[in-house]
């Protein structure tokens, strides 16, 4: 294929124009080779879309070229040492800028542009998210010629994807290991998240699992604090998991958070979890990309499911003009090798526009995602058979929203009802049972071909006639919804935030 080329040698030019190009001094980035409107990206290129808000008096092409330059080879001035290299290959190439719809004069938002930039494969080390991100989101985000910059999407070439392990376990193997098919998994985060002793903490785990949940989870900031050391937590949680498994005949799990200050500590905690027979451990996004990749390799080697809590992501993913879109984090985490990632609920308490969340979920679960601007997917992405990541929906959701959750999120998802389980008026077991009954009822109705989204409230009411815990849950939370506008919304179609 003609567009697979770059083996062909790029001749070292020695003409007059080239001599002028490398004369000491400062050039505009567009003049340095970072703006190439005729460039056709290669199949092996990594292609990126940035949202750029240029400074006044900086035209969009120059801003795009500057971003391409600063995220690849450029510095602020001409350097003759470029000529010792195949510099034209290593220069990122901005090849397109489009005005962002509904920005600029006459709107509430200052003018923004989508800039399309291609990077040669040789710019990146194999299997290293750290190296990839050091270029793409390195220095460039503080660059003065742009007011704000946001990484919107990234097409990762198959050739590069194949240098990553991908999810340690993946949806298919996770389900086989847990022996759970055909329905979302159910979880809850232990509450209160801080302050319980190991013994009291394990009580919550036991009650929730025995009542019908598949998983209970440590919260992101439960590590090893004065009120509860990590070894105590692990020991009591595994007692709870095994007691509940014996009480129900079902495989159960608790995500033991192994997040710690050093890799050595994390490995020690992970090994202890394994020695106790835990099926799953968890880490937080804040441990960093390299630590995540290390734990993913450990998890693959030790038959462990690896849950990732996205702690910290909203510091850079929530605002629309600056930072990076969460869909890019989803891509990087699928490459880095986690099995679970929190990816939004649509109807819960945390940020989440339904169209955007569909884009995240598709990115995590599908083998190939087509371009879908309304879901924020700027590129077709072939996932090269990397395993599928199970998204986790957590935060302010309850049994009364079951029809909406299944409609928006599908069945390959962990639905986590923390408050909705532990805050149940009849106790934690009853809370878990209410969620499980609501879930199974709704899956059955969906499979029967019923219009479950519309009939959902009635389907739940009918089940509540024979299930007291579900009745109590609906009486308590039936009317609760979190109906706020999302900040991270699609640029290409009008959107609405769903509510109960």
């Amino acid at each position: 294929m003609s567009n697979l080329s770059p083996i062909k040698a790029i001749p070292v030019k020695a003409d007059a124009a080239t001599a002028k190009r490398y004369k000491a001094g400062v050039l505009r980035y567009v003049e340095m080779g970072y703006w190439q409107p005729d460039y056709k990206p290669l199949e092996t290129d990594l292609v990126v879309v940035f949202r750029i808000t240029p400074q006044e008096h900086v035209d969009p092409e120059e801003a795009a070229a500057a971003v391409a330059g600063e995220s690849s080879t450029a510095t602020w001035t001409v350097v003759w040492t470029d000529r010792l290299t195949a510099c034209e290959l290593y220069r990122a190439k901005a090849y397109k800028v489009d005005a962002v719809p509904n920005t600029g004069p006459g709107t509430k938002t200052e003018q923004q542009y989508f800039a399309w930039i291609a990077y040669d494969l040789d710019l990146f080390e194999e299997g290293s998210i750290a190296n990839l991100t050091a270029s793409i989101i390195g220095n460039v985000f503080g660059f003065k010629a742009i007011k704000a910059l946001r990484l919107e999407d990234m097409r990762v070439p198959v050739a590069y994807l194949k240098t990553f392990q991908g999810p340690a376990t993946g949806i298919v193997v996770e389900r086989e290991r847990l022996d759970k098919f055909g329905r979302p998994l159910l979880g809850a985060t232990t509450k209160p998240k801080l302050g319980l002793s190991g013994r009291n903490y394990g009580r919550v785990v036991y009650e929730a699992l025995k009542g019908g949940l598949d998983f209970v989870k440590d919260d992101e900031n439960i590590n090893s604090q004065p009120f509860m050391g990590w070894r105590d937590r692990f020991l009591y949680c595994m007692e709870a998991v095994n007691r509940a498994s014996a009480a129900t005949g079902e495989v159960k799990g608790h995500y033991l958070n192994v997040t710690a200050g050093t890799m050595e500590d994390m490995y020690e905690r992970a090994e202890f979890a394994k020695s106790l027979g835990s099926a799953i451990i968890m880490i937080d996004l804040v441990i960093g990309y390299t630590a995540i990749q290390s734990m993913a390799k450990w998890a693959r080697k030790n038959d462990m499911i690896l849950h990732l809590h996205r702690a910290g992501n909203s510091t850079y993913s929530r605002q629309k003009n600056h930072g990076m879109n969460f869909r890019v984090i989803c891509k990087w985490m699928r490459m880095a090798g986690v099995d679970h990632i929190h990816a939004g609920t649509v109807v819960g308490k945390l940020e989440g526009d339904p169209l955007m969340i569909k884009g995240f979920y598709d990115t995590l679960r599908e083998s190939r995602t087509p371009v879908s601007l309304e879901n924020g997917l700027f590129f077709e992405q072939d996932w090269a058979s990397l395993r599928k990541v199970m998204p986790v929906a957590s935060g302010g959701i309850h049994a009364g929203q079951m029809h909406q959750l299944i409609h928006y999120l599908g069945e390959d998802v962990v639905l986590q009802f923390g408050g909705g389980t532990i805050g149940h008026p009849q106790g934690i077991q009853a809370g878990a049972t209410a969620n499980r009954v609501a879930l199974e009822t709704m899956i059955m109705a969906r499979n029967e071909g019923r219009d479950y989204l519309r009939e959902g409230p009635q389907i739940l009411k009918d089940a509540a006639k024979w299930c007291g815990p579900l009745r109590a849950a609906i009486d308590t939370w039936g009317e609760v919804s979190f109906n706020y506008e999302s900040t991270d919304t699609a640029d290409f179609v009008p959107t609405a935030t769903a509510s109960a």
């Binding site: 389900r175 098919f181 019908g212 595994m238 199974e440 059955m444």
Partner: protein, 144 residues
């Protein structure tokens, strides 16, 4: 006697609901067939959560697309093994899945004694856990 809510084994995707009627089973069979999945019937009298390989009541029915015919097989299995656990599994052969996509119980023994948790205390407060089915103490075929 199991002490969880419902006092029953909760494996499978519909174990928290009342036992499925033949009409409900047929609707689920229809759903699986619409997805292009093949349906298999499996039975066991050892419901340990790690007992993966229940015995197959014949191979998965790759070529049987009629839910009534499949229901007939289910009912014959129930007649042959009235006190066993019987589950219906739907197998998806699509690339990227190639795994069961549904699994639910359609028969269970009248009395479910449940499981014992056996603890072996080890050093450093660690405990090695083993789950043992009370019924599986008896030989196969004499358990329920």
């Amino acid at each position: 006697m199991m002490t969880n809510i419902g006092a029953r084994l909760t494996q499978g995707q519909f174990s928290f609901l009342p036992d499925l009627t033949d009409v409900q089973i047929t609707a689920q069979l229809n759903y699986a067939l619409q997805q292009g999945w093949a349906i298999g019937i499996e039975y066991t009298d050892d419901p340990h959560p790690r007992n993966t390989y229940w015995d197959m009541y014949g191979n998965p029915m790759f070529d049987l697309k009629d839910p009534a015919g499949i229901l007939k097989e289910i009912n014959e299995c129930r007649k042959t093994f009235p006190r066993h656990y019987i589950r219906v599994t739907a197998f998806d052969a699509t690339r990227g899945w190639e795994t069961p996509r549904m699994s639910y119980l359609v028969n269970r023994p009248a009395v479910e004694p449940g499981f014992a948790l056996v603890r072996e205390e080890r050093e450093g407060r660690s405990i090695r856990y083993t789950i043992r089915s009370y019924a599986a103490d008896k030989p196969e075929g004499e358990r329920y």
